[in-house]
């Protein structure tokens, strides 16, 4: 990993002036960093300040306090923008142009020769699953297709840093699965990704760190890699195994027909399952979940027990 974070927010604050003369703290002393090869998610309720945080990082909004840096430099440096991809929530595009034309325009703005820009346009339209609609005028696109086009735009320059604001909003299940693959691909390319999503199951699957945000403040940072994941094993004979479980699997708990145990690494799963089977467990289903992000979310953000 690079020493320098791809994205860094240092105690940034942003207040909006309200019509009644008051102020609203959209982001309050928020600090975060995203390094290359890392996928970080912002989780929080609507109005938590996630989009504002992204816009502050990009320089689309100026912070009242604190500092935003991309690759160690000012976000508005033109050289920095070459390394950047951003897909906003609910993007809109010129309706008279086709998706391929918009992609080619952005390719040309990134400095690619026209032929190369067109080739990339076709390639990324295909990668996000809009190869056919991309030939049509954007006026005919559905919300999901515009969303996919926005994601394709963010990936066009094969950036080192990608910011995705609700990229799965309006996508069908196939689109969500494709998005997951794209994110995995970005990690493989050593790109840094800052993701804003409400789809906890997807965040759980792909992210390395999660920042829970509310009222513009980071309530807690959860490291999915260090703090482990939960292994759930459904047993046909859970009731009979319950008594013997402490000696078979330390730290495991039983609820109904499920045995749950925290694991530090995916590689440990086969050994645990083998242990259970050897001890007489009749395994019906094995599921490696995240650290129960939904539970954490409800506990941290909504204050539920």
């Amino acid at each position: 990993m690079d020493e320098q974070p791809a994205l860094e927010l240092r105690s940034v604050s942003k207040r909006y002036r309200l019509r009644d003369g008051g102020e609203l703290a959209a982001v309050d002393s928020l600090s975060l960093e995203v390094r290359r090869g890392e996928i970080v998610a912002l989780l929080g309720p609507n109005g938590a300040g996630k989009t504002t945080a992204m816009q502050l990082a990009l320089g689309l909004l100026h912070a009242d306090g604190g500092e935003a840096r991309l690759f160690g430099g000012h976000p508005e440096l033109l050289a920095t923008r070459r390394r950047l991809g951003y897909a906003p929530d609910a993007p809109l595009f010129p309706k008279a142009l086709t998706g391929l034309e918009v992609l080619a325009l952005h390719g040309a703005l990134l400095g690619f020769p026209r032929a190369e820009a067109r080739t990339r346009a076709a390639r990324f339209a295909e990668e996000v699953g809009i190869a056919e609609p991309a030939r049509r005028k954007i006026a005919t696109y559905s919300r999901g297709q515009q969303q996919r086009l926005g994601v394709a735009l963010s990936l066009l320059g094969e950036p080192d840093l990608v910011l995705l604001d609700e990229p799965t909003a309006g996508l069908d299940p196939a689109g969500v699965a494709a998005m997951r693959e794209l994110l995995a691909g970005l990690r493989a390319q050593n790109a840094a990704v800052l993701l804003n999503s409400h789809l906890l199951s997807e965040v759980e699957r792909v992210c390395d760190r999660v920042l829970f945000i509310k009222g513009g403040r980071v309530l807690r940072t959860h490291d999915m890699r260090v703090q482990g994941r939960r292994l759930e094993i459904r047993l046909a004979n859970a009731a009979t195994m319950a008594a013997r479980l402490p000696e078979v699997l330390a730290g495991a708990t039983v609820a109904e027909d499920r045995v749950s145990v925290d694991v530090d690494a995916e590689a440990l799963v086969p050994g645990i399952v083998r242990q259970l089977v050897e001890a007489g467990g009749e395994v019906l289903e094995v599921r490696l979940a995240g650290a129960e992000l939904e539970e954490l979310y409800l506990h941290i953000v909504e204050g539920q027990q």
Binding site: H62, F93, P94, L97, E101, H106, A108, L110
Partner: protein, 243 residues
């Protein structure tokens, strides 16, 4: 050095403008109006004068309507401006794109007039070409004014407000002309200063002019509002980011 025109933006703008039905319809009437008036001593000015001039102005205003606001309000401008280009280059690209689209319509209309003139047996007159250049310059100067207004006016109001001001001025001049006819020459002089001039007076076969005054004046109206528009856009965008 940072370019003042983003040509990818200009191409995309021209492409989008040339696909709108409105400008095509007006452009068609503009072309026919010029061709119908083709004459021996017109020198190509028929395309941009008389009844054709009305369609030319309508076409120019149509192409300049919401020239910046449609991108700003849709949010696409935000995405474009996250690319390595300056706001000045984006502004220049939008303006240049509208000018390119206007040039396409002007060349078509001018060619139609030229062909009509030849078909009527007036022969080839090389002096028709300057009329095309001057006509495009005139239109581009108005587009620059519309772009400048678009830097701070929402939606189509840039063209709407400018049309209202132009019509109000024409009405005012007409009314004053009826009440005080002796003021008409002064008002005509003042009118010539309030916006781009029609540089085709340079090609007037009856009273030819040897100076380039109106053309230079239109160049001023092309670059002046352009510069002012960029300054306004920058100021407004920075204010929005700080708000």
């Amino acid at each position: 050095m940072t370019p003042i025109v983003s040509w990818p933006v200009a191409r995309a703008t021209a492409s989008a403008r040339l696909r709108s039905a409105g400008p095509w319809l007006i452009g068609l009437v503009f072309t026919i109006a010029g061709a119908v008036r083709a004459e021996l001593h017109g020198g190509g000015t028929e395309t941009f004068s008389g009844p054709s001039a009305i369609w030319f102005v309508l076409l120019t205003f149509g192409l300049g309507t919401a020239i910046l606001s449609e991108e700003i309000e849709s949010g696409h401008a935000q995405l474009v401006l996250l690319r390595p280009l300056t706001r000045a280059a984006w502004f220049g690209g939008r303006l240049a794109g509208a000018c390119l689209a206007l040039a396409v319509f002007c060349v078509t209309a001018w060619l139609a007039t030229f062909v009509a003139a030849v078909a009527r047996g007036y022969g080839f007159d090389p002096m028709r070409f300057p009329a095309l250049v001057l006509g495009i310059l005139w239109g581009c100067a108005w587009l620059s004014v519309l772009a400048c207004l678009g830097a701070f006016m929402p939606g189509w109001t840039n063209a709407g407000a400018l049309s209202a001001v132009v019509l109000a001025w024409i009405f005012l001049v007409g009314t004053i002309g009826l009440i005080r006819p002796q003021w008409v020459p002064i008002l005509q002089e003042v009118t010539a200063l309030l916006g781009p001039q029609n540089p085709l007076v340079l090609l007037d076969p009856v009273k030819p002019r040897r100076d380039f005054g109106p053309a230079l004046y239109d160049l001023l109206w092309l670059f002046g509002p352009w510069l002012l528009g960029v300054a306004i856009l920058n100021r407004r965008e920075l204010a929005r980011r700080r708000a």
